[in-house]
Symmetry: C2
Subunit: 152 residues, 2 copies
């Protein structure tokens, strides 16, 4: 059951599964990719002044990716992505937070130069267990169109 470009339509909402963010994962990710005190050391005075440990924004972005892979990318005919726009961190993600969200299809545009594919544009929003928005992004992906079965 592969989803092709034709299986997405503007206005469509795709719910995402929840993701629990453990403190150990926050610290491990940050030590490798974003070693700033408020991501790695819960006891540091700087961290305390900021209300406690918070996940690296790039960790939140990686979690967003996992959530959309599980929700629809894994069974879609995705080729690659040119990038994303308007990526925003709206509130801190804290240890033990459970993130949920949904993707809304904003544009489905068949390619003019490459008739086998098109561009899928989605707005994805994540919120925490308190309903606070934590992340928003406009994601793009190149997706194959449904193959035409030719008569022999």
């Amino acid at each position: 059951m592969t989803r092709y470009l034709e299986d997405f339509e503007v206005g469509q909402h795709i719910p995402l599964s929840s993701y629990l963010v453990p403190e150990s994962e926050i610290v491990e990710f940050a030590r490798q990719f974003d070693p700033q005190t408020f991501h790695t050391d819960p006891e540091h005075t700087t961290t305390q002044a900021l209300g406690g440990l918070m996940a690296s924004g790039w960790h939140t972005a990686a979690i967003f990716m996992r959530m959309i892979v599980d929700a629809y990318l894994a069974d879609s005919a995705v080729l690659t992505s040119p990038g994303v726009d308007e990526l925003r961190w709206l509130s801190p993600v804290r240890p033990g937070d459970v993130l949920s969200g949904d993707a809304t299809v904003e544009e489905v545009r068949p390619s003019k130069s490459k008739p086998d594919r098109g561009l899928l544009m989605t707005r994805v929003r994540l919120h925490n267990q308190k309903g606070e928005s934590v992340f928003s992004v406009k994601a793009m992906a190149f997706v194959l169109r449904r193959p035409i079965i030719e008569s022999p």
Copy 2:
């Protein structure tokens, strides 16, 4: 030696250190956050058709973060970041690639509402060992202004 907002000026170039991307790191990151075949399985036919294993775009973004933390964020008075714009994946990042790059300061804007801080906007570009551009992003950060020492 903390850098404050006043220590950045428009047009300033900040070189980044190099980062070697091992295959094991590509697979490990992707298994956790972006489990698509072409990021996790070098032997799969889909991967082969795409020229071999490539890093998740979010792995490249995390590496970009590590490179700018090491180059200047760690010793800057950074508060938080509202987000990024125009994030682009320009070519695949492959196992064994060595990424380098630089940040160019595009805007330094003191806040009108909060006189102790301002917005730092940088364009960061990464390229591989062959000189091919692989990643570009417009990054934003809130940075403290240099404290005013008041006479007693």
